[in-house]
């Protein structure tokens, strides 16, 4: 029963972390968002970063799964089920981050009572809900043993693909439509989000499949993994291209964009920017562009991790850079209002520029949410993946098979 012990140990650890996250979240609800590092200058932080990040991660899975049906890519069909599970879990996490970030979650019903259809956040909430529903339907049909279920999968996939693209676009528009923020206001924001979603999502799918391989819950061909890694290389290239386009557009007029760029290149968010460029785009692309590297699972895994961390860094610099400089600059700046400032005295309540660092509360909450995600993925895979279902069936009907799987 080795696997089970390992599984239980892992699940136990994850459950504890999840519980810690929940506790931190309750603490945050009691104390208010002042327990985070956010403030009036930088009014969004780690939670919204994670929201963007997980919306993106959920894409890879669904795009692979649905393109398998839409474009009849046969090999991809094999991994469609874990891909959709992954996608479902990630979109749930993304949604949770939005809710966790709300200061007045007790008034959330106002979204239904008096929605403002002009708000990109409202669009996003709608699209994410729709996306989640499609994921679940997808999952239900995929798991259905009824006849015709596969046809239904094909039909759902035709909706799923555009909705997946839309969900990332709408998330992008939360930022991309804000004229007030130099670094966000850009038409390329939606394509950039989509392609970042694809590369990070694919990378996560690759890692998950490798993990499932190792756990024995689900077997994937190395060839298919290499194939997916090839697709990842293409996505990274497109991502790099879009980032390049954006930067050129910011830099070339020598106008306001240059200042924002300077913050990215040499200022507070520079480590994140350069990490993404080097470790998130250049290194994984250089690795994966060669077929022989794509065959080496260690390198593929390394490249995938680079891509995921790189995309996370991109979310960080994309979000935070535009909070740093105030459009109307000058002393005393903006009254920061943050928790630290509320207990600060004197002129320390003001900030000349936006500044942000997550507090332990935010980090614990994020760790908790991610733990919950991993736990859910593990449980769902165990329950839903075919190999495992067989094993589970076997287990319930007697003993034996499990040992072999291990």
């Amino acid at each position: 029963m080795q696997t089970s012990v390992k599984f239980k140990a892992a699940a136990g650890v994850l459950a504890v972390l999840t519980a810690a996250g929940v506790a931190a979240w309750i603490y945050q609800i009691m104390g208010g968002l002042g327990v985070t590092g956010m403030n009036n200058g930088t009014s969004w932080g780690l939670y919204i970063t994670c929201f963007m990040f997980f919306v993106g991660l959920s894409a890879g899975g669904l795009i692979v799964a649905s393109s398998a049906s839409v474009f009849h890519v046969k090999e991809y069909k094999k991994v469609a089920l874990p891909a959709v599970i992954l996608s479902t879990v990630c979109i749930c996490l993304a949604g949770m981050f939005v809710l966790i970030d709300l200061g007045g979650i007790q008034r959330i019903y106002q979204l239904l009572l008096s929605p403002n259809v002009m708000s990109p956040l409202f669009w996003d909430i709608c699209v994410i809900s729709l996306y989640l529903v499609i994921n679940v339907i997808y999952l239900v049909f995929m798991l259905s043993k009824k006849s015709g279920a596969q046809d239904r999968v094909a039909i759902v996939s035709r909706f799923a693909l555009p909705v997946a693209i839309l969900v990332h676009s709408v998330t992008a528009w939360i930022f991309g439509l804000e004229l007030a923020r130099e670094g966000w206001y850009s038409a390329i924001m939606a394509p950039l989000f989509v392609v970042s979603a694809m590369d990070s999502g694919l990378a996560l799918l690759l890692l998950s499949l490798m993990g499932l391989n190792r756990s024995g819950l689900f077997k994937t061909d190395k060839k298919l993994l290499s194939n997916l890694a090839g697709l990842l290389a293409v996505c990274i290239a497109i991502d790099g291209f879009f980032v390049g386009c954006e930067i050129l557009t910011m830099a070339y007029p020598g106008a306001a964009g240059t200042e924002t760029l300077a913050i990215m290149a040499t200022g507070a968010t520079a480590p994140f920017f350069w990490f993404e460029i080097v470790a998130g785009i250049l290194i994984p692309f250089v690795i994966l562009v060669f077929a022989k590297n794509r065959a080496r699972m260690g390198l593929v895994a390394f490249a995938s991790i680079c891509v995921i961390v790189g995309v996370f860094c991109k979310r960080v610099w994309l979000l935070l850079t535009s909070f740093i400089e105030f459009n109307v600059a000058g002393a005393p700046g903006v009254i920061s209002g943050s928790s630290a400032a509320a207990h600060a005295s004197g002129t320390d309540v003001w900030a000349l520029a936006g500044a942000y660092a997550p507090t332990w509360v935010e980090i614990v909450v994020v760790v908790g949410v991610v733990s919950l995600g991993i736990l859910s993925f593990m449980v769902l895979c165990r329950k839903l993946l075919p190999g495992n279902r067989a094993a589970a069936d076997a287990e319930s009907s007697g003993k034996g098979a499990i040992g072999e799987i291990a």
Partner: protein, 802 residues
């Protein structure tokens, strides 16, 4: 922190109402408006159903503004402050300081209970005592000093904002003896025109600026220090006046003026002297005005510098009517009394009679000015010749002109009286006084409410022996042996504000027999007191009616807003209790109301006559004084209360000091070639701000959100010392040092550093600002009308990383 030792701090801010509730009980007053600590701590709720009440009072007059305020009290707490309604709508003002009283009346630095010193003077170690103990101790201390040394051994240093009425006279003390502050320019400016306050108050009020074309504003940051005048400043600009602010630093007023001209600190007199040279050279002076209205045609004996009179004068104060001044009459070509019929005095003449040479004041003035050519002035002041020519021509030829100065700059240099004297001569040359609308000179911040729109209220009659003592003539400084001072009774941070060279001052205080502080807040000065009496802010009264002022053209009544907070008592209550203990219980009014009624009923001032307390209460505390002009001006009709009845520019009493006419004298420390600069190269300037009135409001947490104590210096000086904004720096010279954060800004003149005056020691990293300031007393101090000036800004320091 000194206050950590004060046991009064066991009372936290949150528990203060409990304490003050007890105090109210002790006084037998209705405590219904008070809350218990529990209620105080109750969470905030929507407050629509709470009880509201309105009270009216005035705020500080020290900033000259004296805003009258309408205050809303909700559940016993002052929740809203707004300008009261005035008959003259221009006076409906409030500034950030007034508004911040919402918090400041409850400041953690409020003195809550009477204290008795237990540690060294200055250590801030106190124990709580009861009011009876405190008052008995004060009375005994006073009586001991009275019997040991006499009443004049007490120095009473009330604040401008004190609401004490008779205390100084009951003590029989020297009042504000030789305090040497805000009198420097007036020493030189006021005698010429016999300006009533002697502090250089302007000849017209700032409302008249809009009628001027050229306004020279020299070293006066009026937009911060007397904020209610802002509309008049901008009205003038909008009417087309050119406001030229001359200031070493780019202060707020400089930034808002038509033009800013930087100047070397302490050289204002050189500026005026250079300008006068140009006026003489170009004959831009108003010759007829000088002949008719000034002492310029008076004859001076070249041998001894005395003014030639009809017969030898026994004192320079002998009036011209009794003993006329002599002039050279152009019609008869003979010497004549200046007031003789049909006399046409020569302005620029020198004659020889019986082997003696007599020159007109003007001739001497011209001759003296040969030493101050424009090139010289340019070098001294750092203002280019070209700019000097330009502003002089504007000032002299594009009138009406204003010459405005303040108390924050030249006033605090050893040569302040020379600057003041030069200013009054300069203004006279172009015919400023008593002439057309919009022409004027002097300290506008002072004139604003002190001279103009001020009604005189009679003193409460006290027994004969109750009168203030005058400071001994031979004393120049309260700290010298000749002052005879053995006891200090002060209010409102007087020690910190009025003392330079704090370490020396502290030594002097240590020699005193008894020191009493009567204060609202625990200012640094309090730490030097033996007994501390906590007094109320202007918002608190134990009676419905408080004190009366007649300022800004209105009678202004203080009425109750809040009951006394903590265990504080009103100034009136304290003085009553002391008077009782000194045997004058029956001699003083029973209440503020009795006093106010007396003041109104017995008013001799036409402006006040007829105003009743009932009318004041009916009008929420503000009633216009009678017959106030739209714009007030002095010297109308060329009337001067001087010895000659004209503008007496020649100061005969200063002949021996070489200052009968303004003669350049370097500042005593912060002059260009001082060898001390090798060690202490930076001139140290204490500037004022909109955030405080001297040491008042420094402890307001609302204001602290905008102001942080810092040493301001130019990038040039910072770079050479390796300093960056935010560094903790030490400001040091041989007298002492203090340290706080530094801020690097181009608004400060290279070679100088500035710090806001009045900052409490506890808000600095270490030390006290006044520990570095210059306390030198110049020789001619005793000869000046208000004594020597304390040259606070005439200070050299070095700044280094702490």
């Amino acid at each position: 922190m000194s206050e950590a030792n004060g046991s009064q701090n066991v009372l936290t801010r949150r528990s203060f109402l409990k304490a003050s509730g007890a105090a109210v009980g002790a006084l037998g007053l209705a405590g219904t408006a008070m809350l218990t600590a529990d209620e105080w701590l109750a969470p905030a709720q929507a407050h629509a159903d709470e009880q509201e009440r309105t009270g009216y009072t005035f705020h500080y007059r020290h900033c000259q503004c004296n805003c009258h305020l309408k205050c809303t009290v909700r559940d016993g707490r002052m929740a809203f402050i707004e300008p009261n309604d005035w008959p003259d709508k221009r006076n409906e003002t409030i500034c950030l300081k007034g508004i911040s009283e919402i918090q400041h009346v409850y400041s953690v630095d409020r003195l809550q209970v009477p204290l008795k010193r237990v540690g060294e003077r200055g250590s801030g170690e106190f124990v709580e005592i009861t009011w009876d103990e405190a008052l008995d101790a004060v009375a005994q201390g006073i009586q001991k000093v009275w019997s040991d040394y006499g009443k004049q051994a007490i120095a009473y240093m009330p604040s401008v904002d004190t609401l004490s009425v008779n205390l100084g006279r009951i003590l029989g003390a020297q009042e504000k003896p030789h305090r040497g502050i805000d009198i420097g320019l007036g020493n030189g400016f006021s005698p010429a025109i016999a300006e009533s306050g002697g502090q250089g108050a302007a000849s017209n009020e700032m409302k008249d600026w809009k009628n001027a074309k050229t306004i020279l504003n020299v070293g006066c940051n009026v937009l911060e220090t007397c904020m209610v005048t802002a509309p008049y400043f901008f009205e003038a600009l909008e009417a087309g006046a050119e406001i030229i602010t001359i200031d070493p630093n780019y202060c707020t007023t400089a930034a808002k003026s038509s033009r800013w001209i930087p100047i070397e600190p302490g050289t204002d007199a050189a500026l005026y002297l250079g300008m006068m040279s140009l006026i003489l050279e170009n004959e831009w002076y108003d010759e007829a005005y000088l002949r008719e209205n000034t002492s310029m045609p008076f004859l001076v004996d070249e041998a001894d510098g005395s003014l030639l009179r009809d017969h030898p004068a026994e004192s320079p104060k002998e009036t011209g009517a009794d003993n006329p001044f002599m002039v050279w009459d152009a019609v008869s070509d003979s010497m004549q009394p200046y007031d003789a019929d049909g006399v046409d005095p020569k302005l620029d003449a020198s004659i020889e009679i019986d082997g003696k040479t007599y020159s007109t004041v003007f001739r001497k003035f011209k001759k003296q000015h040969e030493a101050y050519p424009i090139e010289w002035a340019a070098e001294k002041t750092g203002v280019s010749e070209e700019v000097l020519r330009e502003i002089t021509e504007k000032y002299a030829c594009n009138g009406p002109s204003i010459l405005s100065f303040g108390f924050g700059g030249a006033d605090k240099f050893s040569n302040a009286d020379v600057s003041g004297h030069a200013a009054v001569v300069l203004a006279t040359l172009v015919g400023t006084f008593g002439s057309e609308d919009g022409a004027g000179a002097g300290a506008y911040v002072n004139a604003y409410q002190k001279v103009f729109g001020a009604g005189k209220l009679p003193n409460w009659p006290l027994p004969e022996e109750c009168k203030a003592a005058s400071a001994p003539k031979e004393s120049v400084d309260i700290r010298d042996d000749k002052s005879g001072i053995r006891m200090l009774y002060f209010q409102d941070g007087a020690i910190q504000q009025c003392s330079a060279n704090m370490n020396e001052t502290a030594k002097w205080i240590d020699t005193l027999d008894f020191v009493v502080a009567q204060e609202i807040y625990h200012t640094p000065s309090v730490d030097y007191a033996d007994i501390v009496l906590p007094t109320c802010s202007h918002f608190e009264l134990d009676q419905e009616i408080g004190s009366l002022r007649a300022l800004r053209g209105h009678a202004l009544l203080q009425q109750k807003v809040l009951d006394p907070l903590f265990e504080s008592r009103t100034d009136f209550w304290i003085e009553t209790e002391i008077a009782k203990r000194l045997g004058y219980g029956d001699a003083i009014p029973e209440s503020y109301e009795e006093l106010v009624r007396y003041q109104l009923d017995n008013a001799k001032d036409e402006a006040v006559k007829g105003i009743t307390l009932e009318e004041l209460i009916e009008s929420n505390g503000v009633v216009a004084l009678n017959d106030q002009p739209e714009i007030a001006r002095s010297y109308v009709g060329q009337k001067y209360a001087t010895a000659s009845g004209k503008i007496d520019l020649y100061y005969e009493n200063l002949v021996n000091y070489g200052q009968a006419l303004p003669a350049w004298e370097d500042p005593c420390e912060a002059y260009a070639g001082n060898p001390l600069r090798d060690e202490y190269p930076l001139q140290f300037f204490q500037r004022r701000t909109k955030y405080h009135i001297h040491c008042n409001m420094v402890d307001s947490t609302w204001i602290q959100q905008f102001f942080k104590p810092s040493v301001e210096m130019n990038p040039v000086d910072a770079e050479s010392r390796g300093l960056a904004s935010g560094d903790i720096v030490e400001v040091v010279n041989d007298r002492g040092s203090f340290s706080c954060e530094c801020v690097i800004t181009n608004a400060i003149r290279p070679g100088t550093v500035a710090v806001v005056e009045g900052i409490w020691d506890k808000y600095l990293e270490s030390g006290a600002i006044q520990s570095v300031t210059n306390d030198t007393a110049i020789d001619r101090g005793p000869a000046l009308p208000k004594g020597r000036v304390i040259p606070f800004n005439d200070t050299l320091v070095e700044v280094k990383k702490a």
